[in-house]
């Protein structure tokens, strides 16, 4: 056969193969296990969520399990960052949002959200509690201890070299190299940034004089996009230090932070303990179903790790379409259920919501009017 005939044969074969693949496509049960808790299987419809990159690992796990149990449902989660998630939720672009920071009263975010959900109510509940790890890349230094002042000075770019006396004081006996410190921060608007800067400004306000916000305030550092961007940048460069949700830190070493007189590691249990001791933020929880916490960053209790983020699930009790409401309700119920939280702990390393917290949150999600 001539070369062009061969071409036609090959092309047809490829197209045929792809056609067959398309028809027989959706991949099934890879995560195995459970499923009954993720709904009876009758939920169908397509909903989209967006937001926090810290929640991404957990959302992926939840979606996979939920879709396995409900083959008619299609859920998508776009990890664009907490700021982006809130924006898209407010503008009606997504049905639910994941955000590391509760909707604020500045710029009327909270009011806008209530308006978006009207005539229904706004739902804002914690669904993900995780420590923010201070990841670093310093070959030869296995363990790094940082007091809050040192930590703040490093990220404020006041300390620029790893063998600075302040760091040496925190790490007696450790040989620190003469490498330049490259601080890595988020370039996109991030709830992780907001939680971290909140910690710094509450615990060491004399050093960290910047405004608390989702946008990193210090110019000149290495800026990366998303949690994975920060992790990637720290992995790639020597002498780097960054902050990222512990669930995606992977192989990188995390620094221990001084809490009171102890050195604390970023573990889920330590993170959960902080939330247990924190009061409800009355100003940010005006509605029946908004449960926002004011994290006690200044805590010095044993066993806590105060650089923590509580990430929220933001939704409404009423939606325009019945199938949308049904899908959101079933998904949200799964997310905050004990099974869902166990899955997240397993796959994403978060701290499962305590049973007391779950009891508080369940009525909110169950209030979503389906059908």
């Amino acid at each position: 056969m001539s070369s062009s005939r061969w071409l036609v044969v090959i092309a047809s074969a490829v197209i045929l193969a792809l056609g067959v693949a398309a028809c027989g496509s959706s991949s099934s049960d890879e995560t195995g296990g459970g499923g009954s808790s993720a709904g009876g299987g009758e939920v169908s419809g397509e909903i989209a969520g967006a937001g926090s990159t810290a929640q991404q690992a957990a959302q992926e796990a939840w979606i996979a399990e939920f879709e396995n149990a409900n083959s008619g449902a299609t859920i998508s989660y776009d990890p664009v960052g907490s700021g982006g998630g809130r924006e898209q939720f407010l503008s009606g672009g997504v049905a639910y949002a994941g955000s590391d920071a509760a909707l604020s009263t500045e710029e009327g975010e909270l009011e806008k959200a209530e308006k978006r959900c009207a005539p229904g109510d706004l739902i804002e509940v914690p669904d993900y509690i995780s420590p923010i790890a201070i990841i670093y890349n310093l070959p030869g230094v296995e363990e790094l201890k940082l007091s809050p002042e040192t930590l703040a000075k490093i990220f404020a770019q006041e300390i620029t070299s790893w063998n600075d006396p302040a760091i040496a004081k925190d790490n007696e006996g450790v040989e620190l190299p003469d490498t330049r410190i490259t601080p890595v921060n988020r370039s996109d608007e991030s709830g992780t940034t907001e939680n971290f800067t909140e910690y710094l400004s509450e615990v060491v306000p004399s050093v960290w004089k910047f405004e608390v916000s989702g946008d990193w305030p210090v110019k000149g550092g290495e800026a990366a996009s998303g949690t994975s961007g920060v992790v990637e940048a720290v992995t790639a460069g020597e002498g780097t230090i960054g902050y990222a949700d512990a669930s995606q830190a992977g192989e990188l070493s995390s620094a221990q932070v001084k809490v009171g007189s102890e050195w604390a590691e970023p573990t889920p249990e330590a993170a959960a303990k902080v939330l247990e001791e924190s009061p409800l933020d009355k100003e940010l929880s005006p509605g029946k179903y908004t449960i926002a916490y004011e994290l006690d960053r200044k805590t010095e209790s044993e066993g806590t790790y105060p650089i923590v983020l509580t990430s929220y699930l933001i939704a409404c009790t009423k939606y325009g379409s019945a199938s949308e409401a049904e899908a959101v309700k079933a998904y949200a119920e799964y997310v905050v259920s004990p099974e869902g939280q166990e899955l997240a702990a397993e796959q994403a390393g978060s701290a499962p919501l305590s049973s007391a917290l779950t009891k508080k949150i369940m009525p909110a999600v169950e209030a979503i009017e389906a059908g």
């Binding site: 982006g84 490259t182 370039s187 800026a223 940048a233 790639a236």
Partner: protein
């Protein structure tokens, strides 16, 4: 040279001979063709109108409403600066290289393999830009880190190499180099056309007088092809100005307006800024992004127009 005039000669004679009636088929077909032409013009008008109407709110909004709390000029100027910086860097690297490559293919390489070599260079243009981005950040970036450290050490007194050298390689220098590779095939293709068409008599004349090959090239081929090379360079520049994905993935954007090429604090480009910020924006922020898109369109338009004007002048001579 198939222009409309053919219809006036044979066609109209025939039409006149058959009584001047234009048949239904002709009417339908010609109207369809005109319709296609008009559709495109309407489409473009639509692009202009939609973009202007979506971008205008940002141009008239006060600083407080805009993202970052700056006025639109303060917001867009650093982006425009970064865009032009990256593209200029790319052009500065790519143009000499492209000219050399074109010379190689047209005058140095054995003629039998010249065609294949041309294909190879054109392959660079076929590679999707996201792959350039991934290659830049995973392959070229890390490889350039020692180079940048050396530049900072030896040439650090020059502002563009002031450093401190980034440890991850995500710098304007690397972005510029990747852009240069991307636009190389465009500039080289235009240059190749021009060099291949330089008059044989002049070239042979020079050689007959005893010129070496380089002298012949320098005296005949290069001056002849100069305006084509310039226009090709500007086409490449236009492409580099609008390139999104490679820059989005590679650059560590830290908002500073600086000529420092090897540090981690780089200005962003308009296109990369849109790609990075769009997913998380809504409301007036999107209007601002679209407005910067218009600014970018204006810049590339001016560049391309200049390129074509130069070509037109060259052909007119």
């Amino acid at each position: 040279m198939a222009s409309v005039d053919t219809t006036t000669n044979a066609g109209q004679l025939l039409a006149a001979a058959s009584g001047g009636r234009r048949r239904l088929g002709d009417r339908v077909f010609s109207r369809t063709a005109v319709l296609a032409a008009l559709t495109i013009l309407i489409l473009l008008a639509g692009v202009a109108i939609f973009l202007l109407s979506e971008g205008l709110p940002a141009l008239t909004a006060s600083a407080a409403e805009l993202p970052e709390g700056k006025s639109f000029i303060d917001y867009a100027a650093p982006l425009a600066f970064g865009t032009v910086l990256a593209a200029t860097l790319a052009a500065l690297v790519a143009v000499p290289l492209a000219v050399a490559v074109a010379l190689f293919i047209t005058h140095v390489a054995p003629p039998r393999i010249a065609l294949t070599l041309g294909y190879l260079v054109d392959l660079l243009a076929a590679i999707p830009s996201i792959i350039y981005g991934l290659w830049g950040i995973f392959v070229l970036g890390p490889k350039m880190v020692p180079v940048m450290k050396w530049l900072e050490a030896k040439l650090g007194f020059i502002p563009i190499f002031e450093g401190p050298a980034s440890v991850t390689g995500r710098t304007m220098l690397v972005a510029g180099l990747v852009l240069a590779v991307m636009i190389l095939p465009i500039v080289s293709a235009v240059a190749r056309e021009a060099f291949a068409q330089s008059p044989r008599r002049l070239q042979e004349g020079a050689q007959a007088l005893g010129a070496t090959r380089w002298e012949m090239i320098r005296m005949t081929v290069l001056p002849f092809g100069r305006s084509s090379v310039i226009s090709g360079a500007m086409l490449g520049l236009g492409r580099a100005l609008g390139e999104t994905m490679a820059v989005t993935i590679i650059l560590s954007v830290s908002g500073a307006v600086t000529f420092n090429l090897i540090s981690q604090a780089n200005p962003s480009t308009i296109a990369a800024n849109i790609a990075l910020d769009f997913p998380e924006s809504s409301g007036i922020a999107i209007n601002a992004l679209i407005a910067t898109g218009l600014v970018l369109f204006a810049i590339t338009l001016v560049t391309n127009m200049a390129a074509r004007w130069i070509i037109a002048r060259q052909e007119g001579e």
